[in-house]
Subunit: 585 residues, 2 copies
Amino acid sequence: MYRTNTCGELRASDAGRTVTLSGWVQRTRKMGGMTFVDLRDRYGITQIVFNNADNAELCDQANKLGREYVVAITGTVAERSNKNPNLPTGDIEIIATSIEILNRSDIPPFTIEDNTDGGDDLRMQYRYLDLRRAVVRRNLELRHKVCFEIRRYLDGLNFLEVETPILTKSTPEGARDFVVPSRMNPGQFYALPQSPQLYKQLLMVGGFDRYFQIAKCFRDEDLRADRQPEFTQIDCEMSFVEQEDVLQLFEGMVKHVFKATKGIEFDYQFPRMTWADAMKYYGSDKPDIRFDMRFVEIKDLTEGHDFAVFDSAAYVGAICAPGCADYSRKQLDQLTDFVKRPQVGAKGLVWIKLEADGSVKSSIGKFYDDASLMAIAERCGAAKGDLILVLCGEPMTTRKQLCELRLEMGNRLGLRPSNVFKPLWVIDFPMFEWDDETQRFYAMHHPFTMPKKEDIPLLHTDTGAVRANAYDMVMNGVELGGGSLRIHRPDLQNEMFELLGFTPERAREKFGFLMDAFRFGAPPHAGLAFGLDRFVSMLAELDSIRDTIAFPKNNSGRDTMNDSPAEIEQEQLDELFLRVELPKH
Amino acid sequence: MYRTNTCGELRASDAGRTVTLSGWVQRTRKMGGMTFVDLRDRYGITQIVFNNADNAELCDQANKLGREYVVAITGTVAERSNKNPNLPTGDIEIIATSIEILNRSDIPPFTIEDNTDGGDDLRMQYRYLDLRRAVVRRNLELRHKVCFEIRRYLDGLNFLEVETPILTKSTPEGARDFVVPSRMNPGQFYALPQSPQLYKQLLMVGGFDRYFQIAKCFRDEDLRADRQPEFTQIDCEMSFVEQEDVLQLFEGMVKHVFKATKGIEFDYQFPRMTWADAMKYYGSDKPDIRFDMRFVEIKDLTEGHDFAVFDSAAYVGAICAPGCADYSRKQLDQLTDFVKRPQVGAKGLVWIKLEADGSVKSSIGKFYDDASLMAIAERCGAAKGDLILVLCGEPMTTRKQLCELRLEMGNRLGLRPSNVFKPLWVIDFPMFEWDDETQRFYAMHHPFTMPKKEDIPLLHTDTGAVRANAYDMVMNGVELGGGSLRIHRPDLQNEMFELLGFTPERAREKFGFLMDAFRFGAPPHAGLAFGLDRFVSMLAELDSIRDTIAFPKNNSGRDTMNDSPAEIEQEQLDELFLRVELPKH
C-alpha cells in the first residue's frame, strides 16, 4: 500500500497514528541534527521529520532526496511545537520510520512553486511539471467543478446532454474549418465542428426539447493572443420557449455556478441593455459596467464656436473621470498618446478640467469660454476635481475609441477589480452587418437567427434596421455567452438565405439537410452557448484562458510539449491520396 | 407562452384547469361528432378532444391537422370516462378551446412509432425524425443519465475531469490515426486521439492523482458491423494505487450505474478469472458467464481407440448441452454446418448423446464402446438427456471454435437473456502477443503496461510467458472496459520499448515527451477505460451501439443525413498546400 492518507488531511487529532504518505519532495532542510522534508501531493503538503540521533541511516537517506523525488514515507503523526498557521496540516508533522524511493527525478527545469522562475515557453514545454504547481492545478480543479455544477443545474431542469459528432460537415458563414481527409471516401473530407449549431437545431426538430453539451469546437483562425484552435463551449438549446425563458434559465445557471464555486450570490436580476444603448453609452456590445463613466454626447453644446475639429465631426462624445482634474501635463500627454495609438486610432484628445476650486481649464480654452465649458461639465455630471475627456469624429468609430479610453481610465482608477463581477444581458442586436468590401449584408449572429417580429416587414425595405432576437451575456466587459431565437419556419429561413446572398443552389448544398428537416415540423426553439474557457478564466480571475486548459497550444497552434503538429509518414499520405506541395521559398 | 405543461404530466387531479400544451400531432381520429388528437412531446402523449357540436370551426381545424404538425392547443383538463391505463396521462383529456398551428409538416417518410415502417437507411437519412421515436430517444436519455451518474460517482471520490486535446500527435502501436492538416504549420498534421492514454499518464506525472474524462476517441479503421470512426470512452487514471484499488473502485462505479439507471443491485463482489482460465474454460478472454457449459478436456480419455482424428489432435475438448440428447439428425447437422462455417472453421463435430434411458449414442460409436463414451460423459458431468459436443485440433484454435459453439448452444437454449447481467473481471493477461507474420512480439494491452513483478525476470528469457498487470471488465461476453498498471520507471519503460522492437531513435521520436516526463518523478499509477457506447448499449439491452449515438455514421464512415464527408473547395486545399490525387480506375 502506497499511502494511508493524503498529504493534505492529517490534523492534530491524528497525533499518535502510524501513517504512510506518498508524494513528491517539495524541499528538504537540515537544521542541527534534524532533517525536514516537505512532502507534496495534490491535496497538500505535510512536513516529515528525520532525527539523526534516532536513526542516522534513515536521516542520511532523507538528506540525499532530491527535489521532486517520489517517495512513500511511513511514520508517526506528532503535534508540532511550532505550528504553521499557513498550512492546513501545519499543526502536525510525521516522525519518519521508513522511506521508500518510488522514483527519482532529474532537477526540474523550473521551480515547482506558485511563483515559479520558469517562463511561459519553458512551462508549456514541460507542462506536466507546470501542472504540479498549485496555482495551475487549482484552475483545472475549478474547471472540473464548474462543469459538474453546470451539469447538475441543467440535469435538474430536464436538459439532456447529447454528444454530437466531431467528424462532421463543413459549416458555412463562419470561420475557417479544420478538415479531416477520409481514407474510406477518397478525395472527401470531414470538417471539425465550429459549433454544434446545426445538430442542436436538428435535435430540437427531433423533439429533444432541452439539450445541452459541453462540447469541443474548432476554428482554424490565425490565433490572437488569447485564442485556441480547439475550445470548449457550453452549448444549449430549448424548444417552445420565448427569449425571456432562455434569459431566465441561463441567468439562473450563471448564478448557480458563481454560488457553487465562489460562494458569490447575485440576489438581483441581471440588468439588461439594448445593443443600441450599449453602443451609445459604452461604445461596445460588451460594456464593462463595474464602473459607470458613460458616454455623454455634447455635439450640440460645441457648436457655434468656430472650432473646426468639432464642427466637422458628426459626433462629439465625452466621459468624466472622477478626481482626475489634477492630472499633470505628462499624464494628459500619455492619454493623448494612448488614443492616438494605431490600435485605438483617434486623431487627438480634448480635455476639460473642473478644478477643485470650481474653475475650468481646457485644451480648447481658446475656442470656448468658461461658461461654455461649464455647460459641458454640467451635462457630464462633473464634480469639482473631475476631468472630462472628449473625442470626436464619425459616430461608430469614435464610440469605439472612446470605449478604449474609458477602459483605460477604469484601469488607471482601479475601477476594474478582478474579484468584482458585474453581469449584463445585451439584447436586441441588429440582425445584419453591412460589409463595405463585399457590398452585402452578413448575419451578425448567424443565418438561423429569428428577426424581431415587429421588424420582419423591414427585411426588404430597411434591412440594416432589422433587429434580431439575439442576446449576449456580458460580464466585466467580456462576452461570456450568447444566443438567439431561431427561425423555425422554412419560408422565413429561405428568405433569410436569399437576403444573405445564398443562391438557392448554394443554400441547398450547404444547408439542404437542415431545410429538409424544417419541412417536417420544426418547433419554435432558441438557445445559446457559453465559452467555457472564458467562463472559467473569469471565475479564476485570470487574464488569459490558457491556464484554464490542461494542455493548451501556443499562438502558432503548436503543442511544444509533444511537438505537434508534425510531419506524417508517406504511407499515411498515400492511403489518403494526398500530396503535400509546399511553396518554394 | 407556448405551453403551461408538457404532454406527459397532467393527471386526474388537474381536472378543471385551463392549460396550453405544445407538441407534434401523433394521430387524429374522427368518431361520430368528435375528433381526437394525440399530441406528443418528449415527455409523453396527451389526448385532445374537439366536439363538433360545441365548436364546428375548431373541430374542422383539428380535422385538417396532418401527422407531425406542430401545434399549441389550449383547453380544459377533463377526467376521461374511458381511461387508458397504458398511458401515464390516460386518466385525462383536454377539451380544446383553441389551436395554433406553429408549423406544418410534410408527410414523414416513415411512421413515428416504436415499431416504425422505416428501414435502417431511411431512418439514418432522416435521423431527426427517427429521434422523435420514443424507443430511440430513451436510449439517449439513458446515455445522459449514465454519464451523469458516472460523473457523480467519480466526483464524489475526488476524481477531476480534465479535457485533453483533440488536435494532438499521432499515437503509435495502435490503429490508424485520422489526421488534420495544419494550415499554420504547412506540411504538418495533427492526429485525432485514439485515446487520451499519453495525456492521462502525463496528468499523473503532473500530480493530478485521480483523473477521468468522458472523451471522444477516433480510429480510422475499416468499420466492422458495430464500430464507429468516433466513439466515446470513460477514461480514468489514478496514482499511488495497486491493481486491487482500481478493481474495487471501478467495480463500484459499474454497480453505482446499474443501480442508478436500472435499479439493479449487485450485492456481491464481481468474480475474477485469470486470462489463462478464461481461455481454458471458455476459449475467450471475454467469457459469457450467464451460463456455465465450461469446456472439459478429454484428450486422455480418447486415446488408444485408433481414432486418428482425435489421436492426431493436440487438444480434444467437449461441452455438455443440457437436455439436448433428443436433438434430431437435422439439428446435429445444423450444428456441424455451424462449426464448419468459415467464421468458425472447424473440420467437423463429434457428438455423444446420454439418452434419457441411460444409454449412449455417438457419431464415433464405431471407435468407442459404451463404457468409453460413458467415461467421457461422466467427466463432462452429463446427466441423462444431455448432449456432449466435441471439437479437436490445435489447442488455441479449437478453443476459439468451441467458444463459438458454446455461445450458439447458449442462444439455442435461451441461456443468454439480455436482461440478465453477469459481470466478470478477467485478470493476468499475457504481456505480449507473438505475431508470426512480422516475427516479433507486440504488446497485448499497450507498451506502457507493467509486467507482473514476479515475471520481470522472464522478460528476456521467456518473453511470451510474462504476464501483465492488466485487467478487463467483461459482462455477458462483452468487454465493457479494460486497463492496466503502468510502468512508471524510465529504465523498465526503455527495456519494454526495446523488447517491442523500437529503436532508441524511433522510441524517442514517438514517445520522447513521455520519456522526458518520466525523468522527473512519475508516480506509480494505473487506470482503465470503459467504452461508453458499449456500456450504454448493454444497459439498454441493444444488440448494436448505433442507437446509443444521436448521429451515428454508417459502415462506410458516412453520415447519410448531411452527406459527409464531402469534397472541399480548391481554395481550402490550396491553403493547406495539399493536392488530392485519386487513383485512376
